[in-house]
Subunit: 119 residues, 2 copies
DNA sequence: TGTACATTTAACTCATCGGTTATGTAACCG
DNA sequence: CGGTTACATAACCGATGAGTTAAATGTACA
């Protein structure tokens, strides 16, 4: 993985288990055991995923007796949202072009309505 | 990395070189050599990065004589933007809480204005 | 045809990832 | 004290990632 913040955030998100953990944490703090419960995976595996999320600053961990409650820290997500926002205009115009294309196709179909095509 | 679309998109974005390539492509098609130019990296390395981006559907490639022009395909970015949008409310309320906190700190400062603190 | 250019593929190295089992640590509880 | 609960660390493994150099492919062009 890289050292820069954005890269480690993206890398942390590139795993369905970790995204599921984040989704779970979006509805409130949880202990490691609680987070592990939905997965068919050993605790150390979960522990490692949490460490990745922690190093990406996507979560923080407290201490309460023998539990280490995890909480979501959304700041890196905001950074990603901002990064991706630069491309919004681009993908919107892409879909506009697609619209145009489909509209033209449709018009063509109309003009050639008597000539049914294959497929 | 993973097989699911979202994971491979995130994984593809978890590399500064690849993000730079996308940024370059946002301003128009480019050949592999043109894309490689800003980097101190061998051509095969760039070729591999492009393959990653292609498999993540972030770019497509045409053929024009000996050139293989690359173009940005923003659809996966849109998917990510939608995924992350679910967390928007969360990080906004996080920052609200931060605001609250700072506001309270300020109020406290005011009340204790005659007692300057250390630091 | 031969050569130059653009790009990919092959083969390799080294580090990191995602998982495992086994062991360690720290706090609670009787 | 000893046992249980909650979690982390260590050591290992196979797969993948990111880079390299060297060689192959494909197209243009004299």
């Amino acid at each position: 993985m890289q050292h820069d913040q954005l890269s480690s955030t993206f890398a942390a998100l590139a795993d369905p288990t970790r995204r599921a953990i984040l989704a779970r944490l979006a509805s409130g703090e949880a202990s490691v055991t609680q987070l592990a419960e939905p997965f068919e995976m050993s605790m150390p595996a979960i522990s490692k995923h949490l460490k990745v999320l922690e190093r990406a600053r996507l979560i923080t961990r407290g201490r309460e007796a023998q539990w280490r409650p995890c909480r979501l820290e959304a700041a890196p997500l905001k950074d990603i949202a901002e990064w991706i926002e630069h491309y919004r205009q681009f993908w919107e115009q892409s879909f506009d072009r697609l619209d145009d294309y489909l509209r033209k196709l449709k018009a063509k179909d109309k003009r050639h309505a008597r000539k049914p095509r294959k497929n």
